[in-house]
Symmetry: C2
Subunit: 234 residues, 2 copies
């Protein structure tokens, strides 16, 4: 262990893995990099960490600049520090994953950075190690969402249970039994049934629900088992 003054200093960046859901597919937001090298290539949303901000601050700032949205669900994913991950200069990146409701986002599109949504299954080549980062984020999303009530964050404030089921099915690439999904979900008591129905999906219409925010916040660390099979050893 040596003195502070003898130590090397490094560049610090944040990169955000922004997931969105448009009702059909799980999507990832990427931007065209605005500066050299690799200007115009696809990249995660990111930026350097400033002198007067933490990594969390920087990630929130970057997200706000890009989406115009505050208070998004955001969570630290992993720090990437391989010595050659950035080809220009060694840069440590602290990554965050964020969940956003695409509808709300499209109301305030910020075109300046040329953001684009790609289906999670058809991503373009990304610069540096960003593809690897996205892989890790996908894994973590699946992991967490199987255990905790999380995916609500990808839907509008009002949503139907079939919509939510569809989202889960997209995330896990599989089909769930609607009866069981319904019951499990309602048994958590996290949802409040509203009076009106969504008539777009079917003739009968499905009731809208909204999250009971109090219970939701109290239970972010509770366990959930909406994804059959995930909880068993086998």
């Amino acid at each position: 262990m040596r003195r502070y003054s003898q130590q090397k200093r490094f560049l610090f960046a944040v990169d955000c893995i922004i997931f969105g859901f448009d009702g059909q597919e799980l999507k990832l937001m990427v931007i065209q990099r605005g500066f050299e090298p690799f200007r115009g290539k696809w990249s995660l949303v990111g930026g350097f960490v400033g002198e007067k901000e933490s990594a969390e601050d920087a990630a929130a700032r970057v997200l706000k600049e890009l989406t115009g949205l505050d208070g998004l669900y955001m969570e630290q994913l992993h720090a990437f520090s391989a010595i050659d991950r950035d080809t220009v200069e060694r840069t440590v990146s602290i990554t965050f994953f964020a969940l956003i409701d695409i509808q709300q986002y499209t109301q305030q599109i910020i075109e300046h950075y040329h953001p684009a949504w790609f289906s999670i299954n058809e991503l373009p080549d990304l610069i540096f190690d960003h593809t690897k980062i996205v892989e890790l984020a996908k894994e973590k999303l699946r992991y967490k969402a199987a255990l905790h009530p999380l995916l609500f964050e990808l839907l509008p404030a009002k949503f139907t249970i079939p919509q939510l089921q569809n989202l889960y099915q997209c995330v896990y690439n599989t089909g769930f039994d609607k009866g069981n999904f319904n019951r499990k979900l309602l048994s958590t008591k996290l949802l409040m049934k509203l009076k009106d129905k969504d008539k777009l999906g079917s003739k009968k219409g499905a009731f809208y629900y909204k999250v009971d925010t109090k219970k939701y916040n109290a239970s972010l660390n509770s366990f959930l088992n909406l994804v059959p099979g995930q909880n068993s050893w086998k």
Copy 2:
């Protein structure tokens, strides 16, 4: 987003939260800081990241320097980057938690850093934000160990099921039913029964087991439910 050259560079450190188990209590290894400021105060095991190593490399190096042990279980915990967390100069720390078998460690004590084990429930004051870091590590240990076969890493290669149960009970500060613990554990097929017994714990003696490494490595991502109640919503 601005050019690389205009960005600020920061000090970059790693800190390791090293858990150990002596058969009675869950313990944390801390050292007396060897340089100013706060020389002699208790601190997590850590060090600065060098120019030619990743954070993972640095953490492994630091662990090896301190314990003399290679190949310890090690996992990235979280990056801490609050602007005032280090009172000397802004330093971003990537933290790792490690699990070690105290027996094996004591065979090769490295006294140079004055390491000490403290019971997880009676920790001394630690410098900077290290107390907060340890809290997070404890949470994560409990979280992961409830879901994955992990705590084996804290025991010698040969151990008995009652020993393992005792470890779980220490980690979760509660008592488990031995019958159910036994069955659940064996149902994972992760353990191989050995021919000899440990006669220290009881007159009858408890059979030693060892981990089936092949199955263990294949199932690091599998789910486990040794901790009653953790998996239910309630």
